[in-house]
Subunit: 209 residues, 2 copies
């Protein structure tokens, strides 16, 4: 074993049963920062996901036009339903992940379990793409509602339902932050997964492929 | 040096100036497959990106209604313009990356350059999220155009412009495949980047964090 800050790995580290050896305090610092960042991102997503779903899910406005009562609610627009569902899923998923993070911190575990790292990576990727797609679709609907589409004779509805539209806007802003955080989190979990494949790096740099 | 398929790395592999040693033919196979997959994905994205942009960008239909000529074109809908631009960017980006892949294959280089790996990873991530957001927004617009929105009195326009809508649908399908391939590619480049950080794995499994 060397003591120059570089580990000499002989099949250790990637198997959960083994206890790998540690050298180099800078790596410890990086690992600690990654874990703190992960926990912070997951808490933010959990909070803002619930906020976004609540803002849009509870949004209603009643207008009386020529004695006819018209009620705007989020189920009138499928994109908003999709956004509420996607943010609900993201918040629930991140809540479970926060529990896992806290348990692993309390137990002092380090993630060396490849199957678990794969599950977390896949989950984060799916949720990141899901939340982004939901935000993009909802934002597109919001643009139509706010500006209308002259060429297609789709009229603006935000002139009629101003308060409803503002609250939807706040929900979309919150959901946008959720999807950006999920993107960052997906990169973090890719880092946590693929560094377990670091053994691969010792290969011939003049290889045929 | 061991010969049991596990590399003994002492500070090599992550610095481009060094020539790392290679053990284990299974790792060579994995690396070869990753490179083939990367090249195939980038070629598919390049081809389908151009196809999607061309299908939507060249799509027009003229209707005569009560002697008034009406022309539908993709610039009538901002989401379609966004989709054309996003797929144009993705195709150009992947074309450059295909050139890089071919050069590195011809030269027999293996990617051990951390800054370059970071640039490729970041580029792939941005393009993946960009193309997905564009597809989601365009799909949402297409749903409105196809089904209308009864509650908001937004009428269907695909009954009027059937051929135009069909071609847009083909373009969106092509763009969807592009964004799925970009997602897979972003994971591949995350693998290529973060396995360079494999030195980190040799750490204390009973660490405080």
């Amino acid at each position: 074993m060397s003591s120059n800050g570089v580990g000499v790995g002989v099949g250790v580290g990637v198997r959960p049963g083994n206890v790998p050896v540690y050298h180099g305090s800078d790596l410890k610092v990086v690992d600690r920062r990654v874990r703190i960042a992960e926990l912070v991102f997951r808490c933010v997503i959990c909070g803002l996901g619930v906020l976004a779903a609540a803002l849009i899910g509870t949004d209603t406005q009643v207008k009386v036009i020529f004695s006819i009562q018209k009620k705007a609610k989020f189920t009138d627009m499928k994109a908003l339903v999709f956004l509420v569902v996607a943010n609900g899923i993201a918040a629930s998923y991140c809540f479970l992940q926060v529990l896992r993070c806290v348990v692993s911190i309390l137990r002092g575990n380090v993630l060396f379990n490849k199957p678990l790292a794969w599950i977390i990576f896949s989950g984060d990727q799916v949720i990141a793409y899901l939340t982004l797609a939901a935000v993009a679709a909802a934002a597109q609907s919001a643009v139509f509602a706010k500006l209308g589409q002259q060429e297609l004779q789709w009229m603006k509805i935000c002139t009629m339902y101003g308060k409803f539209c503002n609250q939807v806007g706040e929900g979309i802003a919150s959901a946008l932050v959720v999807s950006l955080c999920m993107g960052a989190l997906a990169s973090l979990s890719a880092f946590n997964l693929f560094r377990l494949y670091g053994d691969n790096k010792g290969k011939n740099s003049s290889g045929r492929w």
